[in-house]
């Protein structure tokens, strides 16, 4: 009887996991981001992303698991460019996960939003539900011209047409680190598992690690008063945290930050941050 009650409690736990084995988290310091797109290229190379070509790019069918979004601050000539790298946020309450009728996307024990390519039937509902627009659909079966197919990463599947794909936080690298740690009977050390983008970032704007470990670099970043999450008000609980760009306000926009909520409409960034953090910056 008690086992039934235990089972029931287990199955009625919101999100099923009471604690993640590792809680992989990424912190992106927008102050450090120069918009060089090294991360984009690294991601493309690591994850066998196809180069879709100019025509399909213009149709809006590019495959970029990680993209640098650009937002302008102020009016020309007093304009300033802000960058925000946008990738799968690995939300703990992901809108995309409820959508899939065949469990092609689910939440794994590490807090990762996993995508199972084999299982996907391509209803594309997950991409519609995703507020960050970071899911990409294989409209065609993409091929690589000779000899470019030689450079494909053997650790990553090549996807066929009709399959949804997205950033995995370089799950192949995470798994390699975890396997190594398990062999040596220890936990993965901080910095041991690095996605391609974090590794490639020349200014160390992207920090990746385990949030469960209070001493990890990413945990320290989370305590930064500039930290905020994109579209947090949608209650998605993202695992990617951004550190706000805290530069001097532009001329003519000096009092932007003093308005609190109001500043949102003037700020170039479309993202909203929680009230505490924006006040802390002010």
């Amino acid at each position: 009887m008690s086992t039934i009650r235990d089972k029931l409690r287990e199955y009625r736990t919101a999100g099923y996991y009471t604690e993640f084995e590792y809680h992989w988290t990424m912190a992106v310091d927008l102050d450090r981001c120069t918009g060089c797109e090294a991360c984009v290229v690294a991601c493309q190379a690591e994850n066998n992303l196809p180069i879709v070509g100019e025509k399909r790019m213009r149709q809006g069918r590019e495959m970029k698991w990680l993209r640098i979004e650009r937002y302008w601050d102020g009016d020309y000539p007093d304009a300033r460019l802000n960058f925000i790298p946008m990738l799968c946020q690995h939300c703990d309450e992901a809108p995309c996960e409820i959508a899939c009728p065949v469990f092609a996307t689910y939440h794994n024990q590490d807090g990762l939003n996993a995508q199972v390519y084999n299982r996907c039937i391509g209803t594309r509902t997950c991409a519609v539900y995703c507020p960050y627009e970071v899911r990409f659909f294989n409209w065609f079966t993409y091929t690589w011209d000779e000899p470019l197919e030689q450079q494909l990463n053997p650790d990553v599947t090549v996807r066929e047409k009709g399959v949804m794909e997205k950033c995995t936080f370089c799950v192949q690298r995470i798994n390699r680190a975890k396997d190594l740690a398990r062999d040596e009977d220890r936990r993965v050390a901080d910095g041991e598992a690095q996605p391609a983008c974090a590794q490639a970032c020349p200014t160390d704007a992207i920090v990746f690690g385990d949030r469960n470990d209070p001493d990890s670099a990413v945990s320290r970043k989370l305590e930064d008063p500039r930290a905020y999450k994109v579209l947090e008000e949608l209650n998605t609980h993202p695992s990617v945290v951004y550190l706000k760009n805290a530069r001097e306000p532009l001329a003519g926009h000096e009092d932007d930050d003093h308005h609190g909520e109001e500043s949102d409409s003037h700020a170039a960034s479309p993202v909203m941050w929680s009230e505490e953090s924006s006040e802390a910056v002010a």
Binding site: R56, Q59, G60, R61, E62, R67, E69, R70, Y71, M86, P95, I98, A99, C100, P101, V102, F103, R119, C120, I121, G122, T123, R124, T125, A127, V128, Y129, P131, Y132, E133, F136, F137, N138, W139, F140, T141, K161, G162, V163, M164, L231, L234, T236, S265, P270
Partner: protein, 452 residues
């Protein structure tokens, strides 16, 4: 009662045997015009639906015009349109059966057939829509070597279950209602046709016991179908409403879609009734009373529909979130499809207001035009909902546009041909007007004059 009996037939009451003759002759005598129409519509279906679909399966869904921003396009909006069109037949038939409205009896068979065939067309669109149609069976719960079952928490699984149930229930409903008529066809025909209908009617003899059982079973089907039909389109609306997308994430979507569905379905019935009168010679059975009642229903539904539309835009404005506000603005004014939005308002909210006039309500040709306009409006309504919300969600950097490709347009056209083909086959298999139920609406064959 007798007053409605007189009203129901514009040219006097037929006798019992005349009903049999009229309906079964329409079934068995086939002119060359029928074959030509069937050939054209089947050819159109092959050329415009099947061929582009095969092409799309070979190259990938990229053959359609969808992109990163608009992951859903006309396939999904057409799916909703066809599901909507399916809503009136069975639902109306069941409601009118329960409320014992006699005027239902000469139109319900074709209305239910419309339900069935639009549902089938809608199911085709699901398969056209998905990326890997060859794995679409994974959405059904069946034991498999992967030990993986579908995700019953997904709104799409609600859809699968709802459509499966609706398809089953409405097939059963139309088939059971036709059993006695199959027996009547069997008795009038010879040879192969007789043998086929003997099997199809399950050996129906019309004994009191059989009628009694059918009556009970039929009422239960009707009772089960009503809540089902309401749930089906609510569930379809939740595919949209359960997302976070501004412009789709509305609580009003369930009643909005159900109302829109019945609206477009009723307009569809009017169109089909006109066709039956014109091409099948059922003018004697489908008359002024039917068109008048259907038009009144259309008028009521158009008013409800207008009200819900106002509500939707009002709540977008009143919500105070810039995302919602801009989504509404993009839909009705700033986006590339603003003219489609106003076309839909014109056809679905403004034009039906003329139905306040009884002279227009009872004019068949005018009603044909109005009903087709309403369905054009409803087709674009679904398109506008999809195409004006998805390209602009939250992050302005990835705002995009969507325009259907030739493949999508062709498949949309082809779907109408598929529906027409199925319906043309139907009128030669099922008696398109219920024989025994029309007889029920005639003056009863009594030795003594009826005093009731």
């Amino acid at each position: 009662m007798s007053a409605t009996r007189e009203l129901m037939f514009d040219h006097g009451q037929p006798s019992y045997s005349e009903v049999n003759n009229d309906v079964i002759n329409a079934l068995t005598t086939t002119t060359w015009r029928y074959w030509v129409t069937l050939g054209i519509s089947a050819g159109t279906a092959l050329l415009f639906f099947v061929a582009p679909w095969i092409y799309q399966i070979i190259v990938g869904v990229g053959a359609a015009g969808m992109n990163r921003n608009a992951m859903w396009g006309t396939y999904l909006s057409n799916f909703i349109f066809w599901i909507g069109l399916s809503h009136s037949g069975t639902l109306l038939s069941a409601v009118l059966h329960i409320t014992q409205s006699d005027w239902r009896k000469s139109i319900y068979r074709s209305a239910e057939a419309m339900t069935l065939f639009s549902l089938m067309t809608a199911a085709m669109f699901v398969m056209v829509h998905v990326g890997r149609v060859w794995f679409v069976h994974w959405t059904f719960p069946f034991p498999n070597p992967m030990e993986l079952w579908p995700n019953f928490r997904s709104p799409l699984m609600f859809d699968v279950m709802a459509i499966l149930t609706y398809l089953t229930a409405s097939s059963v409903f139309i088939y059971m209602g036709s059993l006695p008529d199959f027996a009547a066809v069997r008795d009038r025909s010879t040879g192969l046709r007789r043998r086929i209908y003997a099997v199809m009617c399950f050996g129906w003899r019309g004994t009191a016991h059989e009628w009694h059982t059918l009556g009970w079973a039929y009422t239960f089907f009707a009772v089960l179908v009503i809540p089902l039909a309401v749930s089906v389109h609510s569930i379809v609306s939740w595919d949209f409403a359960m997302s976070t997308v501004p412009g789709l994430h509305h609580t009003i979507f369930a009643p909005y879609f159900v109302c829109g569905a019945i609206y477009s379905g009723t307009a569809g019935i009017v169109t089909v009734m006109w066709m039956l009168r014109k091409f099948m010679g059922f003018g004697r059975y489908i008359g002024q009373l039917h068109i008048d009642n259907l038009s009144k229903l259309l008028l009521v539904l158009s008013l409800i529909w207008t009200y819900i539309n106002i509500c939707e835009n009002f709540s977008g404005w009143y919500s105070g979130t810039s995302f919602e506000y801009e989504a509404i603005l993009y839909r009705i004014w700033e986006g590339p499809f603003w003219w489609l939005y106003w076309e839909m308002i014109l056809f679905c909210a403004v034009v039906p207001l003329v139905l306040f006039s009884r002279r227009i309500r009872t004019n068949w040709n005018l009603m044909l035009v109005i009903s087709i306009l309403i369905n054009i409006g409803m087709l674009t309504e679904r398109f506008v909902i999809v195409a004006s919300s998805l390209p602009r969600k939250f992050l302005p950097d990835v705002f995009g546009t969507y325009f259907p490709s030739l493949v999508e347009i062709s498949i949309t056209v082809g779907s109408f041909a598929i529906f027409t083909t199925l319906f043309l086959l139907f009128v030669k298999i099922f008696p398109a007007v219920s024989i025994y139920e029309v007889k029920e609406t005639l003056n009863p064959l009594r030795r003594r004059e009826a005093h009731t």
